[in-house]
């Protein structure tokens, strides 16, 4: 360490190294994305924890008189979402290899699969109407309203909260795709990388919710 030269270079012989600046910018963006993912996924974890706690404080889950959610269609939607994640990744790889055609094809398919997922889940969401509250007369004659709505209400909140993310991030994917189709992504792989990473986020968040809602 040179203690007697506290400044390495003065501004007048400091040249801005464009490559170095770009490298730092990319590194920052990647770190920022990772921190964001690690942070915001916890909102979904929070909703899952709420689900589990509501379940543990309820005498039966699903409560009596409420049908258990059917996992068939959502499983199909989940598979379609997983496939879209794979395609998003392959498309991003194609873009890095300068294969614009491959990118466009894979991302169009991926976005199509994403739309399929959202449509199926929207259908599920609507078919689970909030069940009317059920009054139960207890042994001591008191009337009590059971937690029958909780099962469906927390389902609706979790899926809707997820869908908001899927839609917003999906729109971002569409935007990147359109820019790419017009040749606007030359030399910029970050937009596609960001889109892909955000879409992974949507998938991971969904897998958490899917397991908690349908398999626990």
């Amino acid at each position: 360490m040179q203690h007697n030269t506290p400044y390495r270079d003065m501004w007048y012989n400091e040249t801005v190294d464009e490559d170095r600046e770009a490298a730092i910018r990319l590194k920052n963006r990647r770190s920022g994305m990772a921190v964001f993912q690690a942070s915001w996924i916890l909102v979904f974890v929070c909703l899952c924890v709420v689900n589990l706690q509501l379940r543990s404080s309820s005498p039966a889950w699903p409560p009596e008189g409420v049908e258990r959610l059917d996992a068939a269609l959502p499983t199909l939607a989940t598979l379609s979402l997983l496939a879209s994640a794979v395609l998003v990744r392959r498309g991003m790889r194609a873009l890095v290899r300068d294969s614009l055609g491959g990118f466009l094809l894979q991302w169009r398919t991926a976005i199509g699969l994403g739309v399929l997922f959202v449509v199926v889940m929207a259908f599920e969401w609507m078919s689970v109407a909030p069940v009317p509250e059920m009054r139960v007369v207890l042994a001591n004659g008191e009337e009590m309203i059971t937690g029958i709505t909780q099962y469906n209400a927390i389902f609706r909140v979790m899926t809707a909260f997820h869908a908001v993310h899927a839609l917003v991030i999906g729109l971002y994917l569409v935007r990147v795709l359109r820019t790419a189709a017009h040749g606007g992504l030359t030399g910029d792989t970050w937009s596609a990388e960001a889109g892909a990473k955000l879409w992974y986020f949507v998938v991971i968040a969904w897998l958490l919710i899917y397991v908690v809602l349908y398999w626990l």
Partner: protein, 571 residues
């Protein structure tokens, strides 16, 4: 007592940004830092005024000044929420924004645009929150426990939740920025353990923010839905569970307690070392204990719920609550050892740091008392708790903020604050603080409940002492405010490094120019290596570089066109 160092003769004040630049969108971290601080101070005054109203009500045992119990409830709710979400947290974000990139020798934060965006979420959140006061204010305290917050509080509670939600998003975005900046933008030669301790503290705070605040976001989303969309997650009469809220809220809010004090601890490490000319004792332990606080902070949340928790679950949380005292203790002992044998300069910043040390220890020890199950069950929801967290949040956080202001205001404005009035401010604040909050311990132990406007007449003597001291404490705030404003216009020119400090924020002009450094500064390899010859040589070389003559020679104040490319540093 050594005197405060005087700037080199002939040092001209560096140009300051115009006032208008602070009022509009800017991506310069220094502007954003000041914007945070100014916004926070504005809300500090409002929150303080509300505290004065609370104390006014409590002068007498009867319900008189505030009219109704609900009005009183909304007073202390507004007070608490403003002080936490609009004062302490943004104020530390302001310090972090201004100081951290400078300490790292960086030109700006990693994401300047995001930084500005995070700040500009705050004023709308604050306005929304204040508007809530006029549409049926929130009355639940800052904890917003259901069912009160769901079934009874007015529409202001909904606005409360929305505004806290926005502030939370702002805080997450800011934290992402801090983490990336500190991880990626350290200069060459600055490893993790050459990093200034304030940057460590900000890093620990940011870790808390990204891991805890999402839980607040989740909880608030459900609370808002319960209030506006007819769900009943927290309404036991319809099968909800109030404990869900308590768990989620405290899983955020206990770590949030640390995010309100850890940056203050970082300020303390800086000030104690610089103003006593001693290296920080146990630098690594102080740095790592910040991270330890951040992580252990996630394991203690249920000690806020001892009275609502099943008895078997209390014990593990009592144990973790005791464990978390260890990293705090490490810091306290390190600071005392740092002072030991140092050339202590009793500047206002130093006085407030020593004030922090003494008062925070009281707050910490009462925290341990409350962490013990039997004591907590006796003292739950009494004034003892109020006393405890004010010792931590005022005697800790606010004293640290004051110390930070006295320490860094010369850097921010280029002018020194008045030391005499700084000491007067300290003396009044310290004494008034003590007599405001210490008697609350006694009232609490004798059973005076918190959050009620009426109390048993035997507590009146204590409450009159508390209220009068609180009024003095409130007024004392205006001394520092006046001093800050006075310094901008009339303060002595500070020069680049009035405290002769080694960290990088002092190795540039005050205030720093656009992009902070004219050139690439090299950090001294031990940020607190005071008293060594190498450190003196580094400071001397830096001073040489910053003298008016050197500045003129290098053409640094004459503009780039005519610059002569001669080497300037003493090599």
């Amino acid at each position: 007592m050594a005197s405060i160092s005087v700037p080199m003769p002939g040092v001209q004040p560096a140009p300051r940004p115009k006032l208008a630049e602070y009022l509009r969108w800017s991506v310069d971290h220094k502007i954003i830092g000041v914007q945070y601080m100014a916004t926070a101070f504005f809300f500090f005054i409002i929150g303080g005024a509300l505290a004065m109203l609370v104390r006014w009500e409590l002068l007498t045992p009867a319900l008189d000044a505030s009219g109704t119990g609900s009005a009183y409830n909304s007073l202390f709710t507004m007070h608490a929420t403003i002080m936490i979400f609009m004062w302490i947290i943004p104020m530390f974000a302001g310090f972090g924004n201004y100081i951290v990139p400078l300490q790292l020798g960086a030109k700006d934060m990693a994401f300047p645009w995001l930084n500005a965006f995070a700040f500009w979420l705050l004023p709308p959140a604050g306005v929304l929150f204040l508007l809530g006061y006029f549409v049926g204010p929130a009355e639940t305290g800052w904890t917003a426990y259901p069912p009160l917050s769901v079934l009874f509080s007015g529409d202001g509670q909904t606005l409360w939740a929305i505004s806290i939600h926005i502030a939370g998003v702002s805080s997450i975005l800011g934290a992402i920025n801090f983490i990336v900046t500190i991880k990626n933008m350290r200069p060459e030669g600055m490893g993790w353990f050459q990093m200034p301790l304030f940057a460590w503290a900000v890093l620990a705070t940011a870790i808390i923010q990204i891991l805890a605040t999402p839980f607040l976001a989740g909880g608030l989303t459900l609370l808002i839905l319960d209030r506006v969309a007819g769900t009943a997650f927290f309404d036991p009469s319809r099968g909800g569970d109030v404990l869900v809220w308590q768990n989620v809220f405290w899983f955020y809010s206990h770590p949030a307690v640390y995010l309100m004090v850890v940056p203050g601890m970082g300020i303390l490490s800086e000030v104690l070392s610089i103003h006593s000319r001693k290296p920080v004792f146990g630098y690594k332990m102080v740095a790592l204990s910040s991270i330890a606080l951040a992580l252990i902070g996630f394991t203690v949340w249920a000690h806020h719920m001892f009275t609502s928790l099943t008895p078997q679950l209390r014990v593990p949380f009592m144990i973790t609550s005791f464990i978390i005292a260890v990293p705090t203790g490490i810091k306290i002992f390190s600071w005392i050892a740092t002072l030991w044998g140092g050339k202590i300069r009793f500047t206002a910043a130093m006085l407030f740091s020593i004030g922090f040390l003494s008062q925070f220890v009281i707050g910490g020890i009462t925290g341990m008392m409350l962490g013990a199950i039997p004591v907590d069950i006796h003292l739950h929801d009494t004034y003892f708790v109020v006393s405890h967290f004010h010792f931590v949040l005022f005697g800790g956080s606010v004293f640290a903020i004051y110390a930070g202001i006295y320490h860094w205001w010369p850097k921010i404005t280029g002018r020194m604050m008045n030391e005499f009035w700084g000491r007067v401010h300290f003396a009044i604040t310290y004494v008034a603080f003590f007599f405001t909050f210490f008697p609350m311990h006694l009232a609490g132990m004798q059973g005076m409940p918190r959050r009620v406007a009426e109390y048993a007449p035997e507590f009146q003597t204590l409450n009159v002492i508390i209220s009068i001291s609180a009024f003095v404490l409130g007024i004392s705030t205006f001394i520092i405010l006046a001093n800050m404003i006075w310094a901008i216009y009339r303060g002595k020119v500070a020069g680049p490094n009035p405290w002769r400090a080694l960290t990088l924020e002092w190795q540039t002009s005050s205030p720093p120019p656009a992009y902070n450094f004219k050139g690439t500064p090299i950090p001294f390899d031990d940020p607190y290596g005071y008293g060594t010859e190498a450190a003196n040589a580094y400071l001397a070389a830096m001073e040489e570089l910053m003298t008016p003559a050197a500045q003129l020679k290098s053409g640094r104040s004459a503009g780039p066109a005519s610059a002569s490319p001669e080497p300037v540093a003493g090599d």
